[in-house]
């Protein structure tokens, strides 16, 4: 299984979105998130986008105040994940228009819908932005 979890964390270390593809108890999650956030947030722009932690590899990318952290298996293709993060951001950008931390915060459900269209069971399911956004647009129209 490729992707183990997707986290969005702001630079104060507050979690804005957490989606796990393997079951962890709430304590395990808290511990893991704490450790990862501490590790990644301390890194500089000049350092690489990969951090090894326990038996995960964290591929992360920073957009303004928000960090996108994806935990993957060790043998996952790191650059493909790195660009997958960007694809996620671009998709949110297309939907929200100039997406920012607050959008994700107040529209947690939409962020979840999008992520759910893109990743399933730790695997990439869709990479076409319009396909990803179709169900959300349908729902928006309906309401």
């Amino acid at each position: 299984m490729g992707i183990r979890f997707v986290l969005m964390v702001n630079k104060q270390g507050q979690t804005r979105l957490a989606q796990y593809y393997e079951y962890l108890t709430i304590e395990e999650r808290r511990a893991l998130e704490g450790e990862i956030v501490r590790k990644c947030l301390a890194r500089t722009e000049q350092q690489c986008s990969f951090v090894e932690h326990r038996n995960y590899k964290i591929v992360y990318r920073r957009y303004a105040s928000l960090f996108f952290l994806v935990g993957v298996d060790d043998d996952e293709n790191e650059l493909a994940i790195l660009e997958f993060i960007h694809l996620l951001v671009e998709t949110m950008d297309r939907h929200f228009g100039n997406v920012c931390e607050l959008d994700i915060m107040f529209h947690l459900e939409k962020a979840h819908f999008m992520l759910e269209e893109m990743v399933m069971n730790g695997c990439v399911v869709e990479t076409s932005k319009s396909n990803i956004l179709t169900p959300i647009q349908l729902m928006d129209k309906a309401s």
Binding site: I26, R30, R43, L108, E109
Partner: protein, 1020 residues
């Protein structure tokens, strides 16, 4: 920014956002949870909208890291809501909050199934996604056929099918049987023809899972994958939506190449050619561009292509292209590419014959070891570790040591472990190895595990050349102001053993050594004090003539610790004090430790076990493989270098002239060598125990423990040594002839009772034995140890088995290198009952001397017995049912060596004939039982009764019964031999047994003489 449709949710989120600290946030969350709980209690009044809102709040709280232990039912119940928005929330929140084993999920199976087989596409998608994320075994069993149908259905739209593919992947992982390989392989191949890239992307993930389990079944998908790759690489029929910065779905390209890596080879030449064309294009055509995203995407594809080329171990030219690319990558500034370059170069090491090319980049890699980014440093460390060999070990290890001083704590332990392993494996000379380890301890003592210093001690002990050097180094480190406790331990140990070699140097006299070591004592922990005490005892022993002042200083310390609360310390202190007042005896007991057996490095084992990340593990595994291919360097370095060996005394046994004299002495010597020397323990135990074994000899040294075990013996040992010392020296001077050390017969008898010990020893060789017995099988290991500085040649070992034993001796090498020990396993199977004894015909040549001995092997009848105690209820019916000859045999035995009844009982017990006290009403009688194993009899019960005459202890009546006439007879004769025709009753401890003649031929093994004294001593 448009607020969400749910006002209450937005308000709650704002509140949370406005919280100043964690405490406020917790209060707000608790309040909200209370609110939701009350609302859920009277669920009837809740509209679906409200329910949806509260469930979202729960998810939000859960995301913040709070436990939400209620409301799961409400989330699950939303799944069956008729409207899409509620249903959607139900599905999404359920898959976030619940795990696959949650009871509520089972309740929902039917609803989920209805959604999956229903007509509503959006409902199908929701249900498939949830099952894909958290479906368990039950889902697998009940839903798999429906999901498969959807995936291959032509009427289904891609948006449903792509989810069905990943849903099936989940179900397959939960229960692989749900996918029927025979039928499904063709379906998969058809799926690979899919035009829709979404369906293709998720199907490719499914394929990866399937082929990783069983690539043969999905062979037909291979050419299809290559076609997909070609389609993408040529950008044919790829919709704009799937093109990412001009690159046709990089994710699908990567996944497809990943799937191809699960097929071992590609046989079809056309497919192979097509694939190589594509790969070639990727390797050559990937340029660095300005746009970061495009660059990343194209390099994602490139790195996957590299992995595939490595996997296929393609043409040489392509491989060297890969190495060249990687060489370029590890030199760029862009950190991501450099990281991946290093990582993939490490993987490249798996491929043979590129090692030399990679070595050219060594300097560049070392630069990365100093990079400010820990991720990059880790990769560099791994790569350096993987590429290290004899040619570059010095440079690499030196770099690692240098880095150690500045490395962050997170890396130090791993770093020191790796440096230690490399130093050990590839040391150009041993003094360098000692230098490295001492530096390691000096720089990162906290991170140097005990195994590392145990290992260096083993090396020093086993290599005389090294001892003065190690001792002087240890002495130097002690001068440093603040040294790590591990350094204190290793220095104290080495100086205790070998400090006397430095005696002539300034500052290295016994007094000075003691002084500087003792200075450290207040700063070390309790567990290290015993090592220092041993060192003091050894210093004392090496100080000849004794120095009264030093002696009184050390005795004061022993006295002080003689009442220490720590048992280990107390015991050592008391023992050393007693021993050291015994003068010459101290020399024997505290003689130098014998060589350690050659053993596999515990470090490497540890490194394999260490749970670091998998990439690291793979590098270590690789290392281990290489090691297996090229004989292990460890063993080689154990043997001395060719430049002669100083006549230092290696084994205490050889050194002490008195030692070859008395029986007891020998057994004490054996004890010693067993404690420290025998490798049998190491080899027969699982490697995990290596550490404890390592601990054994070092922390609890042989001498003290042996004196503990044989407390009653100690005195006589010492007396024996003192008394016999002068008498025996001349015997030792009979030059040239190969004189056995110790009494061969007694060694044999001792081994009849125990399972490990020395079978034979002479000045050149020691043959040890270690045996394990299980039913009618025996597994023995012969340890042939060359005690000398030159090889033993023409070594020959032949087993002359009696007819009842089937034996198989593994190959015995013709030469035994100097100071080496070889192990020869010997398998024994007992076919039928017999008292005959197998003989080992052993010969070797040393210089011009040819030695030949015939040694009885302790594969004797009692080894195939299993002690068994029976109750009266079990005994008597059996006893009665075996009536008379030939099954039950009775004999009056005369000329029995008189023994008190209790000693006779002990004798029986020691031969695995279990005495059942009180079974026989007559107190002068003994009743014993045992189980005998052989191939012909299988497990067979044997019962024995001995009736003694208190008036005449030289005769008794013996009755032996079993279900097999031969067994009854043989066992009766065996016991008779135990009891009769024993030599005069002399106590072994005071008896100086005569030297047996050289190469003593073994008499026909019928009537054995047994020394009861020796037996009883063994029993004690």
């Amino acid at each position: 920014m448009a607020l969400s449709g749910m006002r209450g949710l937005s308000v709650f989120i704002s509140d949370i956002r406005n919280c100043q600290n964690k405490e406020q946030e917790r209060l707000r969350v608790d309040k909200e949870l209370g609110n939701i709980r009350t609302r859920f209690k009277n669920e009837k009044g809740l509209t679906p909208y409200e329910k949806k809102k509260y469930v979202w709040k729960m998810l939000y709280i859960h995301m913040l890291g709070y436990d939400v232990d209620f409301g799961h039912m409400e989330a699950v119940s939303l799944i069956s809501a008729p409207k899409y928005p509620e249903k959607q929330v139900g599905y999404i929140v359920t898959s976030c909050l619940l795990n696959e084993n949650h009871d509520f999920l089972r309740l929902a199976i039917n609803t989920v199934r209805n959604d999956i087989i229903g007509r509503n596409e959006t409902f199908q998608c929701l249900a498939l996604t949830m099952v894909g994320n958290i479906g368990g075994r039950e889902f697998a069993e009940s839903l798999a056929p429906d999901v498969q149908k959807l995936l291959i259905s032509s009427s289904c739209r891609p948006l449903v099918r792509k989810k069905a593919a990943l849903c099936l992947l989940r179900l397959y992982r939960k229960n692989p049987d749900v996918v029927n390989v025979d039928g499904w392989a063709d379906r998969m191949a058809q799926l690979m023809d899919e035009r829709d890239l979404g369906v293709l992307t998720s199907s490719m993930s499914l394929l990866v899972a399937l082929v990783s389990n069983n690539h043969e079944a999905y062979w037909s998908c291979l050419p299809k994958c290559v076609k997909v790759l070609e389609r993408l690489a040529r950008n044919q029929d790829v919709p704009q939506e799937y093109t990412y910065y001009g690159i046709p779905s990089p994710w699908l390209q990567v996944k497809t190449m990943r799937a191809l890596q699960y097929f071992p080879t590609i046989e079809d030449p056309n497919t192979r050619r097509s694939l190589f064309e594509v790969l070639q294009r990727i390797l050559m055509g990937t340029d660095v561009v300005k746009n970061v995203n495009k660059n990343n995407a194209s390099h994602a594809v490139l790195f996957e292509a590299l992995a595939l080329v490595m996997h296929l171990d393609a043409e040489k030219e392509m491989m060297s292209q890969c190495v060249a690319l990687l060489g370029k990558f590890i030199a760029v500034r862009e950190p991501n590419i450099r990281y991946l370059g290093l990582e993939n170069m490490t993987r490249m090491l798996m491929v043979t014959d590129v090692q030399d090319i990679i070595k050219r980049h060594q300097a560049q890699i070392i630069t990365s070891l100093k990079d400010p980014d820990i991720s990059i440093r880790r990769r560099a460390l791994d790569l350096l570790y993987g590429m290290c060999d004899v040619s570059n070990a010095k440079d690499i290890v030196e770099e690692l040591l240098q880095y150690l001083s500045t490395a962050e704590f997170a890396m130090r332990e791993e770093l020191s472990l790796k440096a230690a392993i490399l130093a050990e494996k590839f040391a150009p000379d041993l003094s360098w190895y000692v230098d490295v380890i001492l530096q390691l301890i000096d720089k990162a003592g906290d991170f140097v595990s005990d195994d590392i210093w145990f290992r260096v001690v083993q090396f020093v002990t086993n290599n005389e050349d090294l001892q003065p050097y190690a001792a002087s180094k240890a002495r130097e480190y002690l001068d440093k102001p603040a040294i790590h406790e591990t350094m204190v331990k290793v220095s104290a140990y080495i100086l205790g053993e070998f400090g006397h070699l430095l005696a002539r140097r300034p500052g290295c006299g016994p007094k000075e050594l003691f002084g500087i070591i003792h200075e450290k004592l207040p700063s070390i922990s309790t567990s290290s004090i015993p090592i220092l005490l041993s060192t003091y005892a050894k210093i004392l022993m090496h100080t000849q003539p004794p120095d009264p002042e030093l002696q009184s200083q050390i005795w004061t310390i022993f006295n002080k610790y003689g009442s220490c609360i720590d048992v280990e310390i107390q015991q050592r202190a008391v023992e050393y004090l007693t021993l050291s007042s015994k003068g010459a005896a101290l020399m024997d007991i505290l003689a130098e430790m014998p060589k350690f057996p050659e053993r596999q490095s515990a470090l490497i084992k540890k490194a394999e076990d260490t749970e670091i990340d998998t990439a690291e593990q793979s590098a270590i595994k690789l290392r281990a493989q290489q090691q297996a291919q090229t004989s292990n360097a460890l063993v080689v370095t154990d043997q001395p270098t060719s430049n002669g060996i100083p006549p230092a005394n290696q084994l205490g046994l050889v050194k002490m002239p008195s030692i070859s004299s008395t029986v007891d002495h020998d057994s004490a010597g054996q004890e010693l060598s067993l404690e420290n020397g025998t490798s049998s323990k190491v080899d027969s135990q699982p490697p995990a125990d290596l550490l404890s074994d390592l601990l054994g000899p070092l922390a609890i040294e042989g001498p003290p423990s042996s004196s503990v075990q044989s407390q009653p013996n100690t005195n006589s040992v010492l007396e024996g040594a003192a008394v016999e010392a002068t008498a025996i020296v001349p015997a030792g001077e009979q030059a040239n002839s190969v004189q056995p050390i110790g009494n061969i017969a007694e060694r044999f008898h001792a081994l009849c009772l125990k399972d490990s010990g020395v079978l034979y020893e002479d000045p050149y060789i020691q043959i040890g034995i270690k045996a394990e017995w299980r039913a009618h099988h025996g597994r023995l290991v012969l340890f042939l140890g060359n005690k000398n500085t030159s090889s033993l040649a023409s070594v020959q070992a032949i087993i002359l088995p009696p007819s009842h034993l089937k034996t198989e001796l593994s190959l015995v090498p013709e030469t035994i290198p100097p100071r080496a020990q070889v192990q020869c396993p010997l398998e024994v199977i007992n076919l039928h009952p017999s008292r005959d004894v197998a003989v080992l015909d052993f010969s070797y040549k040393f210089g011009n001397d040819m030695a030949n001995v015939k040694l009885r092997l302790p594969a004797v009848l009692n080894k195939f017995l299993q002690p068994l105690s029976v109750s009266a209820e079990e005994f008597f019916p059996q006893w009665r049912s075996l009536s008379g000859p030939p099954l039950k045999l009775q004999e009056v035995v005369r000329g029995v060596k008189p023994l008190p009844l209790l000693e006779m009982a002990n004798l029986f017990n020691s031969y695995r004939l279990t005495i059942s006290p009180g079974l026989d009403p007559n107190p002068n009688n003994l009743v014993a039982s045992t189980t005998f194993y052989s191939e012909s009899t299988r497990a067979m019960l044997c019962l024995i009764r001995i009736e003694t005459d208190p008036a005449d202890r030289t005769q008794l009546r013996m009755t032996v019964a079993s279900g097999d006439p031969t067994l009854s007879f043989e066992l009766k004769e065996f016991i008779k031999e135990l009891l009769v025709s024993l030599p005069p009753a002399t106590r072994a401890p005071t008896q100086a047994s005569p030297m047996p003649p050289v190469a003593q031929p073994v008499s026909v093994p019928t009537v054995e003489s047994n020394d009861p004294g020796a037996m009883l001593a063994a029993l004690l």
